[in-house]
Symmetry: C2
Subunit: 286 residues, 2 copies
């Protein structure tokens, strides 16, 4: 089946979609994005993603011009049209296509989304462990904005890959802030720890859901800066992201961490997450 | 005359040029760029721009695949074809168009450049003074790379515009580093000062030429961090950029600075710059 894209209100084959070279997403990284998971042909945590999208737009001083309700409806209709059951939506909004100038232009925004299939996630605990690798956190101080200015994340991820790892952990003055495309959690003495959202940490949606699940399950959770040293010596470590759900961490800079398998609390949280996903996406369609 | 673009070896109308939505310039800010000035149909400081382009490519772990000599030749032939006599070349290279993934792709790079006419620069000292406005320097720590991850610069520039100014000065822990699209110089007691190139300062080409001219003219020049306070109280202030050449500064955060006109040393440097430009671009074509 041909991959489709919704581009400024028009649906067409993804391979036919074209942008102008002066789109501000291309010349200025002047845009924001979301990645939303599709399970059983249904969107998971769509309101939370749209909340964040609106906050990101605010963060770049851009009013989101497409109506939120319409956007949600268009995405839902689009997924039905694509037939994608297990996958993701990639959505991006930029300030539009206008002759190059740092000053904000008066032009229509570029809004697009498309679906990509993904293999179904393995059952909780069934994945192989993630290998983390530390890189200095040299990013800007508004990482809470989900902007397309992702060059530092791309460089970090590829530094980790070149070192034989899977994912980069940013370390800012000794603090493990987050990973290049995921949030970091550690478990110490039965309690969950994660660095707070803010200058250096994106408000991950899976992070948010995991914190809510921990509360429901009676697992104490604290948001405070985690030092790299206490992360490495933690009882369990895991990362969260929309596409990965929860990934238990097997090594850090080439040395084993965690118990060498998915830890008990990580497993409990991942099972609860998959149960919530099942409940929200397998129930009869509204 | 129709604006033209050179896109991956093909010349076409700029308005017909289109990029794929998964170009890494659009989704990851995974690219670098240059702006090169055209005077009298000739490029000014092309070798310096190509040197910096190569360093920027290195900074983002990307080998520049187009041969440098060929690129220079193509740009020169392109300018002749466009007929632009006074203007600029905008050039951008990205890691290419490939299904979205942080990992570096195996695909051809996207290389493009196009020309835009500019009004001839006013004679030295003839411009109106620039109004500067301070913003916190929250950018990443590799500003020496001329990447398209310009969102922080765009936000800073527009914050300055909203405050009634022309240009934002980034202030990092009390140090005036550079401006949103220009470098900052001050003159104190007959000597030139500018913050050194590095984490927070782009190696501006006009900055480079001005430092060389100062040497020739016997004006002492020092590269060291300039505090915001000493910049504001300086005898003269000016900014440099490829499109603006030298712009004397009239105010900072709404308060007058400098002598209220283009200062003597600023004027001397701008005259020398325009003389060099004239010499290099009015001489018979090679």
């Amino acid at each position: 089946m041909t991959d489709l894209i919704w581009l400024n209100g028009e649906i067409k084959p993804l391979s036919d979609a074209r942008l102008g070279v002066e789109d501000r997403g291309f010349q200025f990284a002047d845009g924001v994005y979301e990645v939303i998971r599709i399970y059983n042909g249904r969107l998971f945590a769509l309101p939370e993603h749209l909340d964040r999208l609106e906050r990101s737009c605010g963060g770049i001083m851009m009013k989101m011009l497409i109506d939120r309700q319409r956007l949600a409806r268009e995405i839902e209709q689009f997924i039905a049209k694509t037939g994608v059951k297990e996958g993701m939506i990639y959505l991006q909004i930029t300030r539009g296509d206008s002759p190059r100038n740092h000053a904000f232009p008066q032009c229509p925004q570029t809004t697009l989304f498309y679906a990509r299939p993904l293999p179904p996630t393995a059952p909780a605990g069934g994945q192989s462990g993630v290998k983390l690798y530390s890189v200095p956190d040299e990013r800007w101080k508004r990482c809470w904005i989900k902007s397309v200015a992702l060059l530092p994340n791309v460089l970090a991820k590829n530094t980790a890959l070149a070192a034989g790892a899977d994912e980069a952990v940013f370390v800012d003055d000794g603090v493990a802030t987050e990973c290049s495309s995921s949030n970091l959690f550690v478990v110490r003495q039965g309690a969950l720890l994660t660095t707070p959202v803010g200058a250096k940490v994106l408000p991950g949606i899976t992070r948010l859901v995991v914190l809510a699940l921990a509360k429901e399950l009676g697992i104490p959770a604290t948001e405070r800066p985690i030092s790299e040293a206490e992360a490495i010596s933690a009882d369990e470590l895991f990362i969260t992201s929309t596409t990965r759900e929860i990934g238990w961490v097997a090594s850090w800079n080439g040395k084993p961490v965690s118990p060498g398998r998915c830890g008990a609390i990580t497993l409990k949280l991942h099972k609860a997450l998959q149960e919530r996903i099942r409940r929200e996406t397998q129930s009869p369609q509204r």
